[in-house]
Symmetry: C2
DNA sequence: CGGCATCCGGGAAGATACTG
DNA sequence: CAGTATCTTCCCGGATGCCG
């Protein structure tokens, strides 16, 4: 026997006027916010999303993309020929969800249960730099830093106490980090010296090494909560 | 045949070092963040949580409270006699999740699908005032406002462009709003005149009505995204 | 290969009843 | 009032297969 409220149009929602609850109606399903995170730095194809989200299955990814599209958070777009592949791109409102991703990330950085050895995507690590940047530590520092993580390239600019970043070519930057996302994480958050990381084969640093070293000090982690 | 990663200890987690993903491991389950929201303004009993969260079932609430407690986000505490009832209270780290609740609420306020006519708890509406407060609109304004919503009382203080609020008695405030959470929402976000709300029997305003009216103008809603 | 539809097993959520 | 027990429903995850 099927009993459900007549207003229920199939979806499971919170019946709550609170904005927070409505946000969870929109992006509270499993994987939804991580799909948004992966698109925060620009559009991606289905397969790239899938490989950047360890563990998501194809049908769930399809469902989330449908849901987020019908909510107005992303659009399915076909690139112009000859590269006429399909990509998923956040709408303006979808990009406005970045503070959500950031507040979650900043908050969870204090968790005693956080395991930094798990895999991490290039988009995640680049976004985390935005989140953890400390303007006070960048006093009088001005630099453009390039990143080559797998097949993706990013550029970050520091100046006037501000941090800006996005996809972009590394040409003309002061220093370039080349390697894996965990390698970059180890340099920035793990305080690992460049030599150790190069020896481990997970990160190479070229260009102005002094600037590069200074760069890695701009992203302090908050103190951990003592384990319960 | 049962195939699962050995690291899986029963729980369904994202295997992702990203802080955002870890936050979702902690508070990403259904209802979890709304339980946190209801505790943001102070401890509550099981039954109060249940009645303030429309639709949650007792067993799910039990599971979430267990999960949040073992994550170190709340503690189960027994009030001293004679009122020796049990309450749930956020830990310091739990309270630090407020920016998450706020960023979600602020973001979702732009949603075209948001339905403000749904029920809303006293805690939700009081938290939303913190979220939506606009310091620029409070230039030169100084007031203490009381709220009596159902059986709960709150006090908000505006001054120096800051907004502070919490549970508290309404004695000595400049004006007092008495009524239902939707009534207060209609006054602040719906721009309804006090008379209409009093006639509807959902809100009564006492004290300095000019201050009370000014108060209701300090919480502008962002513009809606056009429906998809 | 990219993008889906479909089927199935397990488990989480929902509803209700029950107990101290 | 504060949960527990049980049953049902539905979502998630994995596998497979279709179609361009």
């Amino acid at each position: 026997m099927k009993l459900q409220k007549i207003t229920d149009s199939g979806k499971r929602r919170y019946d709550d006027a609170c904005g927070t609850a409505h946000a969870l109606d929109l992006i509270g399903e499993r994987w939804a916010l991580l799909v948004m995170r992966e698109l925060m730095l620009g559009p991606k194809r289905f397969g790239d999303l899938r490989s950047d989200l360890p563990g998501i299955s194809a049908n769930v990814l399809t469902q989330r993309l449908e849901g987020l599209e019908s909510a107005g958070l992303l659009v399915k777009r076909r690139l112009p020929p000859p590269a006429s592949t399909q990509v998923y791109e956040l709408t303006a409102w979808g990009y406005e969800a970045e503070p959500i991703v950031q507040s979650l990330g900043k908050w969870a950085a204090r968790s005693p249960a956080h395991d930094p050895t798990l895999p991490i995507s290039a988009t995640s690590i680049m976004l985390s730099l935005r989140t953890m940047f400390d303007p006070a530590r960048a006093e009088g520092f001005r630099a453009r830093i390039g990143f080559r993580l797998g097949s993706e390239s990013f550029v970050a600019s520091i100046g006037e106490g501000r941090f800006e970043s996005g996809r972009g070519e590394t040409a003309g930057t002061d220093a370039v980090f080349t390697g894996t996302p965990p390698g970059l994480a180890a340099a920035v958050y793990g305080g690992q010296p460049f030599e150790a990381l190069e020896d481990a084969g997970i990160l190479k640093v070229e260009g102005d090494l002094v600037m590069a070293r200074r760069f890695t000090t701009l992203f302090p982690l908050p103190s951990k909560v003592k384990a319960p």
